[in-house]
Symmetry: C2
Subunit: 228 residues, 2 copies
């Protein structure tokens, strides 16, 4: 499968590396590939510059959002949530039409410092905003409720745990579920919450996730839905 | 121990019955005891009128918020979230001073229909509002992330699962943890998230809880935090 992963941060890199390791054709999409590759300083989160990661993954080309979306069968949005709509607009609705868009981003607003707040929240979600802005694209929200290392290697967390899936298109959710199984998620671990409005609830898990990160002192944890 | 449970809905009834069964002295607090007992119709959620429940639990007196708070060692807020501050104001800051207040309510706003939204949300929480309004009271937020049957009988959910605890006072949280253990929660199941600001995250679990209720078709489920 041909994937375009949008976002050059640690989430995008981690997913792109996993997809490449699984034998998929992968490009990473960014606003300005030349500028991204020219950076030599760590990013705001302290991650090494993209160029350093890229040296270790030369088979993953860095391209513009539009080129990435145009050539891909599936697009994964791993941009920062506050910039996601701009990134997808730059990709172009025509390049995204008819395709599955996997949205793993969260609309975290760090402008007032820590902890970040969510925007939108409560009556809307980033997943819904994207679906409204690109009605011909099949948006599936998933993987946004955990650390990116856990996304692609669920065995980092002991026992059963859950990855939520939200979206309006049943076939698109089936296709995303297949991808999750290839990341070694179990069938029982994939929980279809319903349509894209249920992304509201999964994005709103972020505040407790951040508290748990502080309380546990590490990010190798995840939500599990225990049931009768 | 002497408990006052505020709220005559299904959550208050369920907790009051459990406390009474454990041998505690329990009163239920309400705005107007006479009016509550006079009601003969089911409530807006379809639950039988309070008087019917009360006939089965005659040892639990129904009293005003102020009388309940004045006589109790520990107060449990199980009122509807949008009315909690009014109920606690009616109880009186003096009657609540120095006491542990267990807040199990969620600020769900049903005024625009289903699904409800949260108010406050994102930058504040009901738990924090109560703590700010009653600075001499030790507010502990807990049990608000699950169905009330699960609150008092965690064995309804299979396997390990989690009850979150948020509050500024360590001793108060220890005391609440003892109560949770008496409800048959395991030590490993009680997760101290930190101070009362972490109530924001647990209240924000409600939207995904509601989606899960729909997806699973029953309420005997709960969040478990799986970890490395």
């Amino acid at each position: 499968m041909r994937y375009a992963v949008f976002g050059t941060g640690i989430v995008g890199r981690t997913i792109a590396a996993k997809l490449a390791a699984l034998g998929h054709q992968v490009v990473v999409g960014t606003r300005d590939a030349e500028a991204t590759l020219a950076r030599t300083e760590p990013d705001s989160m302290g991650n090494p510059p993209f160029a350093q990661w890229h040296n270790g993954h030369p088979q993953v080309r860095l391209v513009s959002f539009a080129e990435g979306a145009g050539g891909a069968e599936v697009v994964i949005n791993a941009t920062s949530g506050t910039g996601s709509l701009d990134a997808l607009t730059a990709a172009g609705a025509d390049n995204l039409a008819g395709k599955v868009l996997i949205d793993v981003a969260n609309p975290l607003d760090f402008s007032a410092g820590m902890p970040p707040t969510l925007n939108p929240v409560n009556t809307d979600s980033l997943g819904e905003q994207i679906q409204r802005a690109f009605p011909d694209t099949k948006v599936v929200k998933t993987l946004n409720t955990m650390n990116c290392q856990v996304m692609v290697d669920p065995s980092r967390v002991a026992g059963e745990h859950t990855v939520f899936v939200s979206g309006n298109d049943a076939e698109a959710k089936d296709q995303v579920t297949e991808l999750l199984l290839s990341f070694d998620w179990s069938e029982a671990g994939v929980l279809d919450l319903g349509d894209i409005t249920t992304a509201r609830g999964t994005e709103m898990l972020l505040p407790v996730w951040l508290s748990l990160w502080g309380a546990l002192g590490h990010a190798d944890f995840n939500f599990h839905i225990a049931s009768a």
